[in-house]
Structure formats: C-alpha cells, structure tokens
C-alpha cells in the first residue's frame, strides 16, 4: 500500500544556521513527487529529516498518519520507508546479491537464536528472499553481476544496485536522493524507464531529490521548490520551470530580468 507523507512547519537549525524554515507540504499516496531547488536550498537536509537521520527542531512529519518526528531511522523502515543515498553506500567487498539482500532484512522473520540453529522456517525465508532478490536483478538486466563483488561495478550500476536494495524491502514510500548524479545521458534514460516500470507495477509513493530538470519533468506528478530553506512554490514540473520566482532563485534576479 502506497504511503502518504505530510510535513507541517518543519524547522531545522544547525547552531545559528537556519537550514529549513516552516516547510509544509503533503504528498498523496501513489504519486511521484519531486523536491528541487538550487544548491544549498536544503533539499537533502529535508530528506534526512524525513528518513530520521536529522531531527528537526520543530514541526511535524507524518507517514500515513503516523508521527515520525524523533523516531530512530531504523524504526521508519518498518513503516515502509526506504531510501537511497547521494553517494551510493554499498558494501564493496560483498557480492551484489548480498548487497541487495540487505534490503530484505525487515521482511525476514526470526530471532538470532533461530538463525544460529538454522530452524527450517529461517532457511525457507532465506531461500525465498534470495530467489526474490535474484529475480529483481535478472529483470533489471543485472543478473550477470549477482555474484560479483559490488566494488567491481561502475558508478551507474552502484546506483542501480542501491535502488534494488531499497525495493527489496517492499517500501510504501521510497526516497531517491539525487538518483541521476554522476550518470551518463543513456543511464538517466534507463533510470526514467525503470522508475516508470516500478510505479506501474507497484503501489508505491516515490519522492525524488534532483537537479536534473529533464528527469524531474519526465517523472514527477508534482514538485516542491525549495530556496534558502523555505518552500518557494508547489505545482507541476512545468509550472515550476516557468515560475518567475524559481528562475530567479536558480539564475539570480538580474539575469532573470535580462532573460525576460
């Protein structure tokens, strides 16, 4: 079941630096939502607040109606939240399959003792999740890499492995932090196709932080533009691109006047 997300008056300070001020918006279940803005606008900070890695100073963040502000990040996975990182964070010595399997952690039953004793139900669950992870990799055309150490793959494939790792947890809300960063043009096209396929097949809400406006226009149903930690506007990607305030935030007031 796709999750909804609601932010109300989120404030985040680091000492005297106001990183986020009074950010409020709602994300409907099942949409692909974009979070855009110039460098330093607070996009990734906001992301880290949603995923529990940062604690906002005030405000409210709810996932499908459950208040998550102040929850430890590992608890949010149980609410159906999964995320990728700006810099792909894989275990480079472990195989690609082992990396993807990490995403299945919360779906596996049993206590440490039952795994140490290798009780039949844990062995069955392990076989099942392995088959599922392999299936994901095969469908993504990455089956050939399953047994390779992740460190031997390219940056673009690392991003792919991270995505499949996040998806193995069957998330209701998926956060993608700059998925196109460092990808070639062809890889971005491939990524757009992949996300479309995921949305067509699964009941899932996706939030994307991205600079790449082509990707934002191609994928998102709705965007929020942040600037200096404040919400500048909310609307569709096309509306954002023609909004005078957004253009000003990206290229400066004088340049915007020149362009007009």
């Amino acid at each position: 079941m796709a999750a909804s997300l609601s932010l109300k008056g989120v404030d985040l300070h680091f000492g005297g630096v106001k990183v986020l001020q009074d950010v409020t918006f709602d994300v409907e279940p099942g949409v692909i939502f974009g979070l855009v803005g110039p460098n330093g606008a607070g996009k990734t900070s906001l992301f880290n607040c949603i995923s529990g890695h940062y604690k906002p100073n005030s405000g409210s963040i709810t996932i499908s109606g459950t208040e998550v502000l102040g929850s430890a990040p590992y608890r949010l996975a149980r609410l159906g939240l999964a995320r990728t990182f700006q810099q792909p964070a894989l275990q480079l010595h472990a195989t690609v399959l082992e990396n993807v399997l990490l995403g299945g952690h919360i779906r596996l039953p049993g206590w440490p003792v039952s795994w140490a004793l290798r009780l039949p139900y844990t062995a069955r669950a392990e076989r099942g999740i392995r088959a599922e992870a392999l299936e994901l990799l095969n469908r993504a055309g990455l089956g050939w890499a399953a047994g390779l150490p992740a460190g031997e793959l390219s940056h673009g494939l690392h991003k792919g492995v991270e995505l499949w790792r996040a998806l193995l947890s069957k998330p209701a809300l998926l956060l993608l932090d700059e998925p196109a960063a460092g990808l070639s043009h062809g890889e971005v096209e491939q990524f757009i196709k992949t996300v479309r396929r995921i949305r067509a097949e699964q009941d899932i809400t996706i939030i994307i932080v991205e600079h790449h406006m082509g990707l934002i226009s191609a994928l998102t149903d709705r965007v929020v533009v942040l600037d200096h930690g404040r919400k500048l506007m909310e609307g569709t990607a096309a509306e954002a691109q023609s909004d005078a305030r957004v253009i000003e935030a990206y290229i400066g007031k004088d340049a915007a006047d020149d362009a007009a």
Partner: protein
C-alpha cells in the same frame, strides 16, 4: 549444463570431505599420543574464544580487547559449579549464561559510545577482572586459583583422560562453530556486516546499529564463557593469571592472523594461539616476544586478510602466471547480459585482474 554439474560435483566432494574430517576427528584421539591430543584440545579451547571475538570484531567491527575476561569468567563459573557438585549440563549452561549476561550488561552501556570508546571499556574488563579474582577468594580461591576435576574418563568408556577430554572439547567446539557459522550467514550476518561498514545505511534498512552491536558483543561473551568451560575441562585449574590482559591481546592477534571475518579463520587463529608460543619457545626462550612479533608482522604483510586467505592468494598468483603465458590478446567480448552468471562472473574477475597488472 557445465555450470550445474560442477556445482553438484562441488557439493558431493564437500560432503565427502566433511565426512572424512569427521571420521578422522573421531578416530584421531584413539591413535595419537597423549601430548598431541592435549595440544589439539587446547586449539579447540582457544578457537571457540577466537570465534566469539571474530563475531564482534571481525564481522561487526567493534574493537573488543576484553574477550579473555569472559573466558576467565566461564572458567571460574565452571570451577564453582563443579566444586559444588552441580550437574555437568547445568555447569556448562551457567558457564555460558553468566558471561553472556555480564557481556550483555557491559554492551548495553558500551555500545552507546561510538568507535574506539568501546575498545576503552573492554580494556577495563581484564584490568578490573584480575584484582577482582584475587579479592573474591570465596569464589575464586584468590591468588592461588582453584582447581576442579570433572573430565576424568569414566570407567565404562575404557578411554584415557586425554581421549575423553578430546571428545568433550570436540563436541562443544563443533557445536559452537556450526552455530557461529549459521549466525554469520543470512539475516544477522548481513546486519553485522553493514553495521561494520556504514551505520546510516544499516539504519535505513531497518537495522538498529545499537542492538546489533549489543547482540554481537553478547554472542562473543557467550562463546568466551564456553571457551572458559573448555579451558577448565582441559587444564582443570584456573587462576587470576588466566584472564590477564596480555592473553586478551594475544587472542586479538590470533583472530587477525587467522582471518578477521572468517569462521575457518577462527579455527586457524586457535591453532596459532597454541602453536606459535611453542614454536618461538623452541627457537629461543629469551626471544619469544620479539619472534612472535616478527611472525605477526610477516603474516600481516604477506596476507593482510589472515592465513585463511592463503589458498586464495596462491590460486590468484598461479592463475595470473598461466594467463600471462597463454593469453596474448583479449578474448572476444560477448554481451554480458546474455551469458550465464558464472561465466560472466569469471570474466569480470579476470578483467579486473588484468587491469590490476597493467
């Protein structure tokens, strides 16, 4: 399919290998001299301690310099239980549970601290443990230590004492290694690994870094306690010297030399712990410390992943040499997507090795 048949062959050779080793281990004590049996028993004793240390340090990446404290605690609990005529099963359970509970309490506090702070807390354990063992002479026999004989071979078995002890240690060690091996594969093994590498990623996968560290530390303490039980079964005597800090560092060295993050490495580490002091003593008793240090440096320089990686390194050297003589150019490249996984994997490995060389 060639890949499938090689997997099957691999599996059946494995089963045969395990059967041969199992039979050899059962028959060995009956034909080996008593001294060899005692040496093998001591390897088993320390292999279990190194296995526990490997789970918390090798797999989970939490520096633990106090493992010997849990070995000593297990040994003292065993001595206490035996001298108070407890049932032997109860003694064994207590020797695992008491260190496990102490380890859990220490970990609940220590795992809240980040990074090397955990190492500092664990250093304190043997440092506090030795005077404590001297002071609490009601339980520990003070500085003289305490002895407990409970592993003399019963008459019905017709075995000598060293053979009987061998079977006890073999049973417990084999069980500990099977349990440890299952634990570090699958759900919790992956959790240990990701907590070692990146706690933020662990948390985003729904894994609590704190709980995972506490789990690994507690498991290590339980294995330490089991090792203490075996120690008393083999040596039949323990004193405050058993849990001195120096032994704890030797355990860490044995773990790293055997192979951090490897179950087989723990067994090799146990063997290292027992053999290397014997070897260096035989060379020159005055130079044991320095020759042990030299061995440590040489092994880590040549095999940074420990002795367990020796076959892998040798195989790679060998393959490199053959591929250098037989591969004048690049083989034709197929699209990797359409290749069976194993072939592509092999090609990928060779590709990087070729790049490494140039």
């Amino acid at each position: 399919m060639p890949a499938m048949s090689s997997v099957l062959a691999n599996k059946s050779t494995r089963v045969i290998l395990i059967a041969v080793v199992a039979i050899a281990l059962v028959v060995a004590p009956l034909i080996l001299p008593a001294f060899t049996n005692q040496t093998l028993v001591r390897i088993g004793v320390y292999a279990v301690a190194v296995l526990g240390l490997n789970i918390v340090m090798g797999y989970t990446g939490q520096v633990n310099l106090g493992q010997i404290f849990f070995v000593g605690l297990g040994a003292y609990v065993t001595a206490y239980g035996v001298n108070h005529d407890w049932n032997i099963i109860l003694v064994f359970v207590a020797a695992c549970v008491v260190p496990g509970l102490v380890g859990l309490l220490v970990a609940l506090a220590a795992a809240r601290l980040g990074g090397l702070a955990i190492a500092m807390v664990t250093i304190a354990l043997p440092i506090v443990g030795v005077p404590l063992a001297k002071r609490l002479d009601e339980f520990t026999g003070g500085s003289q230590g305490t002895s407990a004989r409970f592993t003399d071979a019963p008459d019905w078995s017709g075995l000598y004492n060293d053979q009987w002890q061998f079977y006890i240690v073999l049973l417990v060690t084999a069980a500990a290694f099977l349990l440890g091996r299952s634990l570090v594969r699958g759900k919790y093994g992956r959790a240990f690994g990701v907590v070692r590498e990146n706690e933020a990623v662990a948390a985003s996968m729904g894994i609590s870094p704190y709980r995972t560290k506490v789990l690994a530390f507690t498991v290590a303490s339980i294995f330490g306690g089991a090792s203490g039980f075996l120690y008393l079964a083999a040596v039949q005597y323990t004193s405050p010297e058993t849990l001195s800090f120096g032994h704890s560092i030797s355990l860490v060295a044995a773990m790293v030399i055997g192979g951090a993050g490897s179950i087989a490495g723990a067994l090799i580490g146990g063997a290292y712990y027992v053999f290397v002091p014997q070897l260096t003593n035989a060379i020159d008793p005055n130079l044991t410390t320095i020759s042990q240090g030299a061995i440590l440096l040489v092994v880590l320089f040549l095999l940074p992943q420990g002795l367990v990686s020796l076959p892998r390194v040798v195989r790679r050297l060998f393959r490199r040499r053959t591929s250098r003589s037989s591969l004048p150019g690049n083989p034709p490249q197929n699209s990797p997507v359409h290749q069976p996984a194993t072939d592509a994997a092999r090609e990928g490995l060779e590709k990087t090795e070729r790049q490494d060389r140039s």
